[in-house]
Symmetry: D2
């Protein structure tokens, strides 16, 4: 159930952003609280999705719904200090896809995050439209060989 | 991988709180954003843990670390309107335990959440102290029979 | 410059709501941080404005802009524990009005807040429309006599 | 009552930081909500105070309490995009001082903020200790001549 170790290798992720921590993200123990950390992943995800839509060159009318977010906390985050969030596409299914992320502070991995997103319409979930699928494929994380990201028999996330 | 359907049955959870939504939890689509929803689960968890420590009748010196949080979003949350978060202990392992939660708004289930917490000390993770274990056991979720919460052969979360 | 003492008398305000504090509103000193307190006032204001629009019985097309918010912190706020925020209209000018608020926790006043709102349109600020003015007048704070809220010579906030 | 126009001249402020806006700071109207803007000022203030304490070369045991915060909103803030917050000391009184700030986004002034802080001890407010006063003086905003920051007859903020 634990994310594989290679998920902590930020060099494998195609997208990276720095996110500022804030004074009020600290809790009474003097470290950044879990919800603030979840918000940093969320902010990096919103930038990855913006990049994805740029790659579609103008796709509109597609609605994206967050179905599932899992954050694994592996180290404390402190303020002041930025975090680096590396992000990419982990798997692409029929109507959904999974974003993988890892967070670093001062070159120390502080966690990984996996998020399942669904393409939805008024009629419910539907097959990912070709322009979006092509854009997602450009942002795939290339997992190391023994743990291929998309082995032929891999179950899709949906 | 999906949480079993009984996880959406709030009657099975021993602890319940109402959490207020806030105007600024809304996003530009007019529903409460995912991070705010994660914060509602977090607030309910902090109340469950406070209840747990009350049940230990004075346990101190134990540090709890959040290791893993997974939120499954099943429906949109709107403001204004409270949410009800039902919480309980899903599994108890050697040094960690899992909290299960489900959220309702207007009698509609909007999601479930699973959180792994670890008892930590300066020396790292250690076996849950007896007072804390006894308190956690009083707050167990009683899963329906075909899906027993603690079958004899169940793997502990750690 | 300081708000007059009667501003701390919650009985003078026509509108009151309870707002829950949250675990993550606490800072590292163990009290609720200033931004969270500002957010409680903001939440109560949004409810006062919702009430105002209910009183207009269907006014639409009016855009409200926040021009100025001043929070005077008079005591610490703690979690767990709700706060009570009492709100009302302090002054009504030509195109703007001022909301007055005071916050209590456990029957102790922890501060007051004053907010100037402006009715705006694409063309800029304009005179408050009659339906809105009538609704605002129903929610006026009645200041004690030596400090009348609306003395004849009082300058309007705009 | 309005802050003087020179308060929007960021060149007059001795301290400046860039603060990232976040996706979830947006409200349903598509601009950054007022509380998030207040939090950006707050974050810049915490950095100014950190700088102040660095200038004291090791002062400890002094507790600072926020007494009053006033934010004047002059333009909308949008995401994505950083804001620049320029900060400095506006006035120094006996036991309190005032921080002045102005915020820019894309070279457009979007507001100013004034904050009164008090040096407190267990016994209540007390005269600012000399090390702190000397540090605050190094961070004064130099107001233009017709509106001197510290005219001889100017009332101190406390």
């Amino acid at each position: 159930m634990k994310p594989p170790a290679w998920r902590q290798d930020r060099a494998l992720y195609p997208h990276s952003v720095r996110v500022q921590t804030r004074y009020h993200d600290e809790d009474r123990l003097g470290h950044v609280n879990n919800i603030a950390v979840a918000a940093y992943y969320d902010e990096a995800r919103s930038q990855l999705m913006r990049r994805t839509f740029e790659l579609t060159k103008g796709l509109t009318g597609v609605r994206i719904v967050t179905a599932d977010v899992r954050v694994s906390y592996m180290g404390e985050v402190f303020h002041p200090g930025d975090v680096e969030v590396a992000s990419g596409i982990l798997r692409i299914g029929n109507s959904s896809w999974e974003i993988g992320q890892t967070m670093f502070q001062n070159d120390r991995c502080v966690g990984v995050c996996s998020t399942v997103l669904v393409q939805a319409s008024a009629a419910g979930a539907g097959a990912i439209v070709p322009e979006l699928r092509a854009a997602l494929e450009q942002l795939l994380i290339v997992a190391p060989s023994p743990n291929p990201t998309r082995p032929p028999a891999s179950p899709a996330p949906d």
